[in-house]
Symmetry: C2
Subunit: 202 residues, 2 copies
DNA sequence: GCCACTTGATAACACTGTTATGGTCGTGTA
DNA sequence: TACACGACCATAACAGTGTTATCAAGTGGC
């Protein structure tokens, strides 16, 4: 990576860390880097390329959080720890989180390369979930349970920052998420029913 | 409401329905209304006021979906029906959904009046959940279970439109959401444990 | 050395939301 | 009736946005 490219990316990262995606005009970035705006087009093909780099950076953080670690007391606790880390990232890396989930810059569309990083992060999580489910669990169901756990946690991570829920007495969002995921894991472990049967009245 | 205000709002609503929030420049709205841009400032205090009107419109749709209806087979089925309707809205009214959850226009911040509409929609949902839980359930827990159900569903509604999950074989998001919420309702009905105990390893 | 490509500064372009300017109209008060 | 004031309107101007155009310099390959 050339010196200019590094200078631009460092400038963008610093501005992003200070004030989120709205601080990232091409003029602000190039001024911070001590260059003109043209370098953003030469090295990153424009502003979208800058945002792609930050998107990938954010997803790498999420992936690291969702990866199996060796110090969990059980595979199940490993999942709970991963979700706790995910909830922490949604707050501590709020700029990245908002960018990834569409709230940072409404004109940004991730490139195909950036998208594949997100998909790979999910694969890491599937592996973590696989260790907590029976060994004979079909691969389809594995991915589905992982998707459910992730989607569930994601709802809590997203809603905790939403202005309507900010009007409420502050709940402990991580605790609520863990509680919901615990219920989901219990249900997944307890039954062998097909995935869609939850759709019927019980 | 004056004729000018109506013309502007109709123009904005039509443009929004066609191409989402990105179609809503003040020049596009005023051109569609056959007026100059100044009316947007006189009648709506600027573009944020236009977006507020659409935000409130979207939240009113969500509120209607989440409200108790009299034709559910049981209170529990009433919740499941409401969540199903919520999932439907997230797709059929994608523009409104994206605007409400921060993805429509990253420069938009809802006014305090708009925010209270969202909070009121949640109150309707709490009432729906109350009918499915034991009558002696403390109000705190009621609100918390309602929040959990809503957050859980919200995760599915949001992730179904995200580009990383769009790379996957298309899951039935509504079925997955209902399945997760069923697990959550089972857990809420089965135990009287304090809300935070799910945080411990089991 | 010549040529093609890459890189960089600067200016220009088309677009954005907003404010400023000047004018008209309607309403209330003396 | 006359006047003052406020609301509303068209238009122009402003300051900002991402991007492209123009010109010049540097580099690498033949």
């Amino acid at each position: 990576m050339s010196d200019t490219k590094t200078r631009i990316l460092d400038a963008a990262s610093n501005l992003f860390a200070e004030d989120g995606a709205s601080a990232l005009s091409v003029r602000a970035i190039s001024k911070r880097a001590g260059l003109s705006t043209i370098g953003i087009y030469n090295h990153f093909q424009g502003k979208q390329g800058i945002l792609d780099a930050l998107y990938v950076e954010g997803f790498n953080m999420i992936a690291a959080a969702m990866r199996a670690s060796h110090d969990a007391a059980s595979p199940r606790q490993g999942i709970i720890d991963a979700i706790t880390r995910y909830m922490t990232i949604s707050t501590e890396q709020a700029g990245h989180f908002r960018l990834i989930f569409g709230q940072g810059d409404s004109s940004y569309t991730p490139s195909d390369a950036a998208k594949t990083v997100g998909a790979a992060a999910f694969d890491d999580f599937v592996y973590l979930v696989a260790r907590a489910l029976p060994k004979d669990c079909p691969r389809n169901k594995l991915r589905e349970v992982a998707l459910q756990i992730f989607a569930t946690a994601h709802g809590y991570a997203t809603l905790q920052h939403h202005e309507t829920t900010e009007l409420m007495r502050a709940p402990d969002w991580t605790a609520l998420a863990i509680n919901a995921i615990t219920a989901l894991l219990d249900a997944a472990m307890a039954t062998d029913r097909p995935p869609h049967s939850g759709h019927k009245n019980r």
